[in-house]
Amino acid sequence: MESLFAFYVVMLAAFAGYEVISRVPTVLHTPLMSGSNFIHGIVVVGAMVVLGQAESTLQLVAGFLAVMMAAANAVGGYIVTERMLEMFRANVDEDEEYSQDS
């Protein structure tokens, strides 16, 4: 039953993800790709948990790599996205309606 519950979550999340993006201006394709790249950096929490349970050498190495790469994913993804979006700010502040007609 509990694993079935997970499937409901997965199904709804997939639908939400699809809907959230469906009407997005080309200007934002790259920042958005970068932003969603950052969001899957959440893998860091899973990586921390598995490293916390690792026993064999293989598991320790894999866990260490997992945490390291996941942290790089999250931090790097955030900075790259932020730097990209930084450039939109100056223009956008004076032109709030832009979002409607794009």
Binding site: S3, A6, V9, V10, A14, A16, G17, Y18, I21, R23, V24, T26, V27, L28, T30, P31, L32, S34, G35, S36, N37, F38, H40, I42, V43, V45, G46, A47, M48, V49, V50, L51, G52, Q53, L58, Q59, L65, A66, V67, M68, M69, A70, A71, A72, G76, G77, Y78, I79, V80, E82, R83, M84, L85, M87, V92, D95, E96, Y98, S99, S102
Partner: protein, 480 residues
Amino acid sequence: MIDLSASGLMSFINLAYFFAAVMFMFGLKAMSTPARARRGIVWAGFGMLLATIVTFFHPAIDDNFLLIVVALLLGAGTAWHFARSVQINDMPQMIALYNAMGGGAAACIAIIELTRTGLSGDLLQGLAVIGGLLGSIAFTGSMLAYLKLRGTLQRVPRYSNLQVINVGLLLIALLIALILSFSANSHPALLFIFFLFALISGILITLPVGSSDMPVIISLFNAMAGLAVGLEGVALENPAMMVAGVVVGASGWMLTSLMARAMNRPIANILFSDSAFFKQVETGADTPDSTLAHKSVWDQVSEEALSIDAHDAAADLAFAERVVVVPGYGMALSHAQQKLWELTELLERRGVKVSFAIHPVAGRMPGHMNVLLAEAGVPYEKIVDIDDINAEFSSVDVVLVVGANDIVNPAARDDADSSIYGMPILDVDKASHVIVVKRGQGTGFSGIENSLFVAVNCRLLYGDAQKMVQSLISEVREIQ
């Protein structure tokens, strides 16, 4: 945190995960409208921070605390340093790099899950296996995309029947996946072959992809890494990973098809066509003295193409009524956007109407040009879309193409044999005059010669984009 029993702690952690997931959703939604985009990433950032902090108190973590902290600091520190120091121009490949990291992390989690003692052999285990497969493919695939975009990997070995080998590899990997999914024992040898094949498969998928299709393939790997994270989340029963991963998987897929549509190329074409790749290997990038290196077909073309100097080009621009600027990767490469905006302001003071036409895939990533022009301070209303401007090119006096090539190649419209045929282009050849600022006499990214350059109404201004725009500025100043 008042109740320190394991179950109380766990519900506190799950509540924090829930808030993180909510922040991700709102962040992603905000990021899809220009006005709120920046707020979006900050929200998502808070969600991530919250989730990471509470995980330190996760009851399942009973050992290796120091290792976790060291790994976190090492990964975060390195990424921080690189992401801060890299030029805004090189952002596209950084996305590929960090995407590879996420996929790799998901694959590593799968390794640990599958080498545990006392495997359940149920559906959850199957999901962990599939997540491992997708994560591994996303890891090597994105890594290769990073190296290709960075230019580290210029010449790649060619194999015929690459796709056949790849499909074979994937089938074997899937077969092993089936065994691994429903077995209660771990099979180290099978596991090794499984991950090896998945990693190779990622490389084989990316190898033949032409560089102009790179954004689409990176987006696809982004979706894969997201889905891998989501599946590992299900296997670990971690709701934050579940929701965030699957949302990224679905939205990434959507984004991939949007990008593919903007280029008028079905995703299957991008994955399974070799043409762009082979052409690119043969002709190489747009290099300044490629003519000196070897005489080939397009040398004849360049002999027929007529050049213009900055003096004449400036006069043409200064006395025009309407000018359209078409930026491309060349502008990005030489950081000409600032100068270009300076030139625009100068021309506008003379009463010339100037706008910027941006092709959806100009540069190396969709939106690449928009980001750079925004950086230079070009206001939104000066930037026009391909559909709006194409109807108006016949009434434009001068088009200034700065470092763009394939996106203005009429062959995509007129020549059914061309490998870029069908890709929407900017119809700049319909304007009265076209001036192309071009670094060298090479071809564009796809490696196809450009019939625009030999058109009667087209003149080439050879030189580095920034230097040439600077000379245009000084020449226009002279005219007053």
